[in-house]
């Protein structure tokens, strides 16, 4: 952290930062410190809710170009001051929190679109761009990023890159790591580097992918070239209600195995169908809600949609039709607005996990058993999104309606949920979880506390995509 503001060293460092970013780019007011002390992670929200003093940065800097970022990094490196990059602050795991104080490097002023290449269908822009504003601008030019995460309105492009953000249409258009062509990065020492301009090479490791998902620990991404897409002629949706999650999963798996190319498949388990689908879409029935969509040329969409519906009907679901599929698309962000989203005093966390089709249901049940056995006060719900040819992502959540009032006790309980099963009894009862988690599950940030060791990061999304 920086020396106290009444120490002349603070004034010296402040003066250097001011020189680097200009008067518009440096803030020490309490309003801004408070705003940067809480991201979308439950822990600082709870801490605030219980009227505990926030952990704030000492200084917030907002450079408006790459050179200024490099200067800030050099200053911080020289004085050994922690730097935490901040985009939109909508990360759900605390990655953007200034846990060591120091400097918050807010990227939002770096939001310029530098080039739209209509021949190659790429866009080059700065990473502080708000993704909804970016999408609007790209749409005005006649294209789309096809990146539609739940946090589109609040997160920055850099946040998605730093945390492997995923949009609703990822099954067809890919996650952010599939969309990125190249990056400009400022290293912790203040060096500016550019990765190769295209993502396919004849040999060698892929430097671009080293930075994607590095959560800011390897540098500050300042510029990116992304793929963009023509706006499709048609985009259609269809929804079914299956008697249980297993039959719905079979339908989804078979759609992917058939090598149709849905833009999206989303499957909600029974509890989430009952809790959220009912609340947002008004469907009040038992079962597992499955929605999928295709886009592209109308003729192709109609053909693929007919094939996918036929696959689903093999499981004898209730056909909710195109209307309830379209309603889901139209309301896809509504799930994340109050009062639809979980709110304090509830405690809640997201345990997103990717696995193969052979294992994804095992992971679901093992995780559910682990949570509900060890924490009977918790509810476990989940949905499956971001489907691949070989598997999908489980976006699971735990919810505790009445966590302890004492902030310390609440924090302890919350952290215990992320820990491995606490006793041999619990471990044996959740062996499937342990097995699945350790051997086949890619679990980059879930079931682990947020990193507090890094001096950098920005935001993923409000649990991305969902």
């Amino acid at each position: 952290m920086l020396p106290s503001p009444d120490n002349y060293m603070f004034r010296m460092i402040y003066s250097e930062l001011l020189d680097a970013v200009g008067p518009e780019g440096i803030r020490v007011d309490d309003s801004e410190k408070l705003g940067h002390s809480i991201d979308y992670y439950w822990m600082p929200e709870m801490w605030h809710d219980r009227n505990q003093p926030p952990r704030t940065p000492d200084v917030v800097v907002l450079p408006d170009n790459t050179q200024a970022v490099a200067k800030v990094m050099k200053i911080a490196n020289s004085y050994k001051i922690p730097v935490t990059p901040w985009g939109g602050g909508s990360g759900s795991q605390g990655g953007a929190l200034p846990v060591y104080g120091g400097i918050i490097l807010d990227t939002k002023r770096m939001n310029r679109i530098l080039e739209i290449d209509t021949e190659s269908l790429t866009i080059t822009c700065e990473t502080g761009a708000n993704t909804q504003q970016l999408e609007w601008a790209v749409e005005k030019a006649g294209y789309s990023t096809m990146h539609f995460p739940a946090s589109i309105a609040c997160a920055t492009l850099g946040g998605f890159l730093a945390h492997r953000g995923t949009g609703v249409l990822s099954t067809k258009y890919g996650k952010i790591e599939d969309m990125v062509m190249s990056l400009e990065v400022v290293t912790p020492e203040g060096e500016i580097i550019n990765t190769l301009p295209v993502p396919r090479h004849a040999s060698g490791p892929d430097l671009t992918q080293l930075f994607v998902g590095s959560e800011g620990t390897l540098g500050v991404m300042t510029k990116v070239t992304l793929k963009i897409h023509p706006i499709p002629e048609a985009r259609e949706f269809h929804a079914f209600l299956f008697k249980d999650m297993h039959s719905a999963m079979a339908a989804g798996r078979n759609i992917m195995a058939s090598r149709l190319r849905p833009a999206v498949i989303r499957l909600y388990d029974g509890p989430e169908t009952a809790k959220l689908i009912k609340k947002v879409l008004g469907i009040e029935r038992q079962g597992a809600y499955l929605v999928f969509g295709f886009d592209g040329d109308k003729e192709m969409v109609d053909l693929e949609m007919a094939r996918a519906c036929a696959i689903c009907r093999q499981e004898n679901p209730e056909d909710l039709g195109t209307e309830m599929g379209k309603a889901w698309w139209d309301h896809r962000y509504k799930f994340f607005y109050p009062p639809y989203m979980f709110q304090l005093p509830q405690a809640f966390g997201t345990l997103d996990t990717v696995a193969t089709f052979a294992n994804i249901e095992k992971v679901y049940w093992a995780m559910k058993q682990t949570v509900e056995t060890n924490f009977p006060q918790a509810t476990y719900i989940g949905h499956f999104s971001h489907w691949y040819e070989w598997g999908c992502m489980l976006y699971a959540r735990f919810i505790i309606d009445q966590p302890p009032a004492d902030p310390g006790e609440a924090a302890n309980l919350y952290n215990r949920i992320w820990d491995p099963p606490p006793s041999p009894t619990a471990a044996s009862s959740t062996s499937t979880t342990a097995s699945a988690s350790s051997s086949v599950v890619s679990c980059p940030s879930s079931m682990a506390p947020p990193s507090t060791s890094s001096s950098a990061s920005s935001e993923p999304s409000i649990p991305t995509a969902s």
């Binding site: 009227n51 708000n130 504003q133």
Partner: protein, 362 residues
């Protein structure tokens, strides 16, 4: 505290980022404290720890006055949480606790003494007394000082329609600006005085070109307990109801929604219908239909209170124009003033009234 009555808004907004992309001030300041989440966090701490929190953190109060009150976030929110109402309640608390920032107090003092946004333009139509007038036309401060052509255009249209119009030009704030600054008691006093003028006129229909004045008479006055007993219309809806002799325009224009008309009264169609009736071809402005292009209109006197932010808002709007020659149309005299008179480059902008008057058949 008045903000206690907005507890549901604080709880909803304090951890929600979903309208960050369209917060008017934050779009140019990039401050976390300038989105509804940031303001709700501040006010949650005030709610928990009392007004002393403003003393401990002097910039908290100033941040609340950086808010442009466009209400774009409320309009966007799927639950329409009243983030603008929360800010107004907090400002009222600040005034009543005598903790309002000095620059705000100074501006409010001038308004209470009858000061206008600027000296009345010699080109502004003078107040009239007309026997058996069909309507009263209320001229707001920004029109009187800086945009007299708005009033002139309206009267030209009214004359073409054969209307008898009594022109009313108040000598000071009719309450709106004071209310947005948090001076509720002074606003009520000003409103009561103006309401008496309205009632004494005996005119049943009042029309104004100012969305802020329209909002004051239609929404604020009843909330302040001030009854008018007359029909109030904004010119966009009133002119749409007239049968005007119009020649079809052969021009493409970009209509800028007014904060008050769209975000406070959901009036988005009448201004567009009016322009379409004049034969204008409308193109959507900017990249999206959600953010505010009122340039601080919702805060009524934002140009006086936050000239730096107002300039940035203007710069942002200019940056979103398709070409420098675009012709913009606004329903707000305030917005037109900021675009036409504050800053460079020059922007081609018309009021709704001018756009219509220009198409009156000769």
């Amino acid at each position: 505290m008045h903000l206690d009555s907005f507890l549901s808004v604080i709880n909803a907004c304090r951890f929600c980022f979903m309208c960050r992309h369209i917060d008017t001030t934050a779009c140019v300041s990039y401050k976390e404290s300038d989105i509804p989440r940031g303001r709700a966090l501040i006010l949650d701490r005030v709610r928990m720890n009392g007004m002393a929190e403003f003393e401990r953190h002097p910039d908290f109060a100033a941040t609340l006055y950086d808010c442009a009150l466009s209400a774009a976030c409320r309009y966007h929110c799927v639950s329409n949480y009243d983030e603008a109402g929360l800010v107004l309640a907090a400002r009222r608390d600040l005034v009543e606790a005598k903790m309002v920032p000095a620059d705000v107090a100074a501006l409010a003092g001038k308004l209470q003494q009858g000061a206008m946004p600027g000296p009345i333009s010699p080109d502004c139509p003078a107040p009239t007394t007309v026997a058996n007038a069909d309507i009263a036309y209320l001229i707001d401060g920004y029109t009187a000082a800086y945009q007299p052509e708005v009033a002139v255009a309206f009267l030209k249209i009214a004359a073409a329609a054969g209307l008898k119009v009594q022109v009313v030009r108040p000598e000071g704030c009719i309450g709106k600006a004071l209310l947005t600054l948090g001076y509720q008691a002074a606003a009520k006093e000003a409103a009561a005085a103006f309401a008496q003028t309205v009632r004494e006129s005996g005119i049943a229909t009042w029309v104004t070109s100012s969305p802020a004045a329209y909002d004051a008479l239609v929404r604020d006055y009843p909330e302040l307990g001030v009854e008018l007993g007359v029909k109030v219309e904004h010119t966009s809806t009133y002119l749409l109801g007239l049968k005007l002799p119009l020649a079809a325009a052969n021009q493409t224009v970009y209509y800028l929604d007014s904060d008050f008309l769209r975000n406070y009264h959901d009036l988005t169609v009448p201004p567009r219908d009016l322009l379409a009736a004049c034969g204008y071809t409308l193109r959507p402005f900017g990249t999206n239909p959600e953010e505010s292009y009122g340039l601080g209109e919702g805060a009524v006197v934002f140009d006086l209170l936050r000239p730096g932010l107002t300039g940035k808002l203007r710069d942002r709007l200019v940056g979103l124009m398709d070409t420098p020659d675009d012709l913009l149309v606004t329903a707000s005299p305030y917005t037109k003033y900021v675009l036409a008179k504050l800053g460079t480059p020059a922007v081609r902008v018309l009021s709704l009234e001018e756009a219509v008057a220009g198409q009156l058949a000769r």
